[in-house]
């Protein structure tokens, strides 16, 4: 790492909506050294139910977490990413609780001297959040609820980083 500033590392698991301005400001100290800042936002889609024949669209998404383990796993992931890529800063904020279609679920922001590391780090972060940080999604379609099943493609995505 060429910067003499300490790396920025911030992770949070929260019920509150994500403020993009507040979270990106955490990387402001890196303006002179980092030519690339990448931000990814994951949002709730209003998809139709895949489990039933009715055409009801998703009405809400509940995100459950394991208090303590989830925060710890998210921070460890951020530390792992800082060590692996040429990054000077990383911010990961993940929401829990009841979310509505269109709301932001997760924000990952990375800062690096050059874009490739920042882009790759975001991709790595999302692949790992999907299947290694303890969060569970439950979709509601009106009065019908079901837990989201883990996808084989998400597990396979992890193998690409080995």
């Amino acid at each position: 790492m060429s910067s003499c500033l300490p790396p920025v590392i911030y992770t949070a698991v929260q019920n509150e909506r994500i403020s993009l301005a507040v979270e990106l400001a955490r990387l402001d100290a890196l303006r002179d050294t980092c030519g690339a800042v990448v931000q990814f936002i994951g949002r709730v889609r209003s998809d139709k139910s895949t489990d039933s024949e009715d055409a009801t669209k998703l009405t809400s998404l509940k995100l459950e977490h394991y208090p303590g383990m989830t925060e710890h796993a998210l921070h460890e992931l951020a530390e792992q990413i800082l060590a692996r890529f040429d990054l000077h800063g990383i911010v990961i904020v993940h929401r829990v609780g009841q979310l509505l279609p269109g709301e932001d679920i997760v924000l990952v922001a990375t800062a690096s001297p050059h874009r490739k590391a920042a882009l790759q780090a975001v991709d790595f972060a999302m692949d790992h959040i999907k299947s290694t940080v303890p969060f569970w999604k439950r979709e509601s379609f009106g009065s019908q609820h079901h837990w989201v099943k883990a996808k084989d493609s998400d597990a396979a995505a992890l193998l690409n980083w080995l």
Binding site: G42, L63, E64, H65, Y66, G68, M69, H72, H94, I105, V106, M126, I129, K130, S131, T132, V133, P134, F135, W136, K137, R138, W147, V148, K149, A150
Partner: protein, 87 residues
């Protein structure tokens, strides 16, 4: 010894649990995660099915992912949860 047992994700409802946690008094021979799972499977049909070898679930002891060989200690926190679906 006593342990605290937690459940997260779909498995909580599949086991027809109304609460996500309970305190369990373990018999003396129950010293490892594999013993605990055998004990839980004997609770009934849903438990036998959901905690079966063919089912994908995870176990954490003291908030660390473990396998059946992991040792249990008095007062430890054991979590049983469905596969993660974050992001």
């Amino acid at each position: 010894m006593q342990i605290r047992l937690l459940f997260f994700g779909a498995i909580t409802e599949a086991l027809m649990r109304t609460q996500g946690s309970e305190t369990v008094e373990l018999p003396a021979h129950c010293t490892h995660v594999s013993h605990l799972l055998s004990l839980l499977r004997s609770r009934g049909e849903a438990w036998e099915r959901e905690l079966g070898d063919d089912r994908a679930f995870r176990v954490a002891v003291q908030q660390r992912l473990v396998n059946g060989d992991a040792e249990l200690s008095p007062g430890c926190e054991v979590a049983i949860f469905s596969l993660i679906t974050g992001g």
